[in-house]
């Protein structure tokens, strides 16, 4: 890597609730697809064909455009053995890389620690949304959580500027380090200072930002626009994290699933368009994952929790294409009615950590896993 090259950046987009893989990247020539989906199938003529076997569901047009430019990698059959089919536990496994025990440290938090070991930047990693997903939680690693960039900060309810400045000044004094205040109070103080410093730095982002790109009106587009603003402000953030959902389509999937993917696809498309319009974005990849795929056979109105899913890597640096094998949908190959994962999710992270960030993935994902060559 030459010194003029920009530091690599990742945007993780979590599709919360369990996206229906079988209905997202569809084996459209496979009769089993139509047999298993009497209630929630996309019609063959509406599916956006990618090759002679697979197609994207109809709302993924903008992602297909990026795919055609060679910027989208699809990682098939991703997951892990013995899916618990519980949202929380599955998400936890994806977050902590610990399928066999309860882990406490998140992979993205560990990555943040490697990227900024001396905690030089309180904005090295940012979650856009309320609270922190466990993927970003590692004790001692500062991670900002921004629900809304416009209103992010300490005591934002104080509308008078001068009054707020004085309040922030007081806050800074109350939270500055002090000797002998006790371990928990020390921790509160440093956390408060990190939060305030981060908020103070990040507020330049919306001030500096202007764009000709119109984002669609959806929560995920709003988060991606916030991410674009912070990225374009060049604040040194390496890990952006956000989520969209709920993909938990037990019922009414025919209505909900296309809307979810329309919002995601259009949001992603606007995001990259925005970056390109500013003459940048080549150092950004986006990674989409979900905690599990869904049951092969529908339940009459939606689909229940399943196992194998798909992950997507998107960006200028991504070597587009299909990676891995689509799991067999034949009845005898299913486990509890689900597609069986054939690619370990930690392999996806390993590829990113090693081939994008140039770091050793083993201590971050707890082991060695097969990579795909999408970077």
């Amino acid at each position: 890597m030459t010194s003029t090259k920009k530091d690599p950046v990742i945007v993780v987009l979590q599709l919360t609730g369990g996206n229906d893989y079988f209905n997202t990247v569809i084996p459209y020539n496979e009769p089993l697809y139509y047999d298993n989906r009497p209630a929630v199938q996309y019609r063959q003529e509406d599916i956006i064909k990618v090759d002679d076997q697979l197609g994207f569901m109809p709302a993924m047009g903008p992602i297909k455009n990026l795919y055609d430019q060679g910027k989208v990698a699809v990682l098939h059959g991703i997951g892990y053995a013995d899916s618990p089919r519980s949202h929380f536990r599955s998400m936890d496994i994806w977050h902590t890389c610990e399928p066999d025990k309860v882990g406490t440290e998140g992979w993205a938090g560990r990555l943040a620690r490697e990227l900024d070991p001396n905690k030089e930047n309180v904005l090295s990693a940012i979650n856009f949304g309320h609270g922190l997903p466990r993927a970003l939680v590692v004790p001692g690693v500062p991670v900002a959580a921004i629900a809304d960039l416009e209103t992010y900060g300490v005591l934002t309810g104080i509308s008078d500027d001068q009054q707020r400045m004085k309040a922030l000044d007081l806050f800074a004094r109350m939270y500055s380090p002090a000797v002998g205040s006790g371990m928990v109070t020390d921790y509160l103080r440093s956390t408060g200072m990190e939060a305030m410093t981060g908020a103070d730095i990040v507020k330049v982002a919306p001030e500096m930002y202007s764009s000709s790109v119109e984002y669609p009106n959806s929560p995920i587009a709003a988060h991606l626009k916030d991410i674009a603003q912070v990225y374009l402000a060049d604040l040194g953030t390496r890990i952006f994290y956000t989520q969209h959902g709920s993909f938990d389509t037990h019922a009414g999937e025919a209505g909900a699933h296309p809307t979810l993917w329309k919002d995601v696809s259009e949001g992603i498309s606007a995001f990259f368009e925005d970056l390109h319009a500013h003459g940048t974005g080549e150092n950004v990849i986006m990674y989409l994952f979900t905690e599990f795929g869904r049951r092969v056979h529908d339940n009459g109105s939606g689909t229940d929790h399943g196992a194998a899913g798909a992950a997507f890597a998107i960006g200028d640096a991504v070597k587009g294409g299909m990676y891995g094998q689509y799991p067999s949908a034949k009845a005898e190959d299913l486990e509890q009615g689900d597609l069986v994962p054939n690619y370990d999710f930690r392999g996806g992270y390993t590829t990113i950590i090693e081939d994008w960030f140039g770091l050793d993935a083993k201590p971050i994902v707890n082991g060695s896993f097969e990579k795909h060559s999408f970077l």
Binding site: S86, H87, L132, I146, S181, T191, H250, G302
Partner: protein, 469 residues
Amino acid sequence: MANKEKLAQMAHLMRRAGFGASREELEERVAKGYEATVEELVNLPAKRPEDKAGPFAMVTRYHPSTLLPGGVPTLGQASWMYSMVNTDRPLEEKMALFWHHVFATGNSKVDNCDQLLEQLDMFRQYGLGNYRDMLVQLSKNPAMIFWLDNNENHRDAVNENWGRELLELFSMGVSNYTEVDVREASRAFTGWTITPKIPRLPYGRFPWRFEYKEEDHDEGEKTFLGYTGNFNGEDIIDIVVKEPATARFICRHLYNFFVADEVQVPAWTIEPARDEEALDMMMTAFEESGYEMTAVLSAMFNSDFFKNARFAKIKSPAEVVASTLRLSGSWDLPKPGIRDIGLQPGYMGQSILDPPSVEGWYTGREWINSGSLLARINFVADHVADTSLPGVQSIISDMKAAGVSSPEQLLEASLEHMGYLEVSDETRQQLLDHAKNGGDMDWGNEDDAGARVGEMLALVGATTEYQFG
């Protein structure tokens, strides 16, 4: 004891045994006395038929979808938060939260919020009763049975999930039993199931009901913790409650929840308790009473170690939200936007009715990260600085009536109204310096004076000290 000290002590009790109290309520309770208040909190009269549903009835009247089969998770959370704010049986509600921490059951899997609200009602009904009865109820609770797969625990195919957690997380704690004990306990609970769930679609979710299926129960002999017999589930519970490890485990949970932050539960087998003497005293009360929660709670609340533990805990998100809404009086009645009050604890890291796992939440400093800290501070500030809210208005008029005039008095009164908060000398000086910028209070200009009070309350709420409760 000076009156102010009594008020401060009462504020401490009401924070722990409930979700805080207004100045007015504190004064009424001080007039009754501390021990009388403990007695009133702990020994509740039976519910009258008309208040059986409590504040929940009000929520369901305005939001009937709370009662839809399956419920609506966000409204389920809101209805509980509404109850925490408006309950007139604060310890009952606080104990429901306690048991929710210990017997953590989550909608992420149950996916049937009605059943969780039913479990919550069971916690209200039995939470202050006998611990053995509680465990029996818990074993029959449909949400718990589904959560820990006891409906998959069959005579010919034992599922150990419930049996294991009963011992590990709900009674004795890890390392006090063997894998064989887990197996045997699980066998004893075979046949304890729920009536088959009607397929959700196309009719939606249906309530579950406990069912004992004799034909699916393993009638064989079992050896559990050294006892041998043809045990059924209740026999296992009878053995478990008498184990000293159980008294220690439950009392340590109570101490961590009500008195002071302990190390996290997984470290309990390694680290000694924060106060072994206190724990001994609680265990004695628990065991001597035959595992009555009222006995151990009374002993605890009346003890010196409890009284001396002011601000020795980081408030949980549920406590932050409920106490703030109670103080500001903004949710005396259901109104549009009620979903938000149920979501707020989640923004601070505690999604109520949806704990991260059966192990519940990590507590104490684990509640704090930069996102959750900002969420806490801003939530409190946005409420206590809102002078249109009735609770804030009553604080303002109280200060006016008390003749609060100097910056010192403004700060002192604000600390008192925020729960007799104790702050460090530095914090006090910094808050005072800030208050002095505004000079003396000018009550002639009511709006400005009110706004100053609101601002000072918000700044007190933004201190590190206020994160403790």
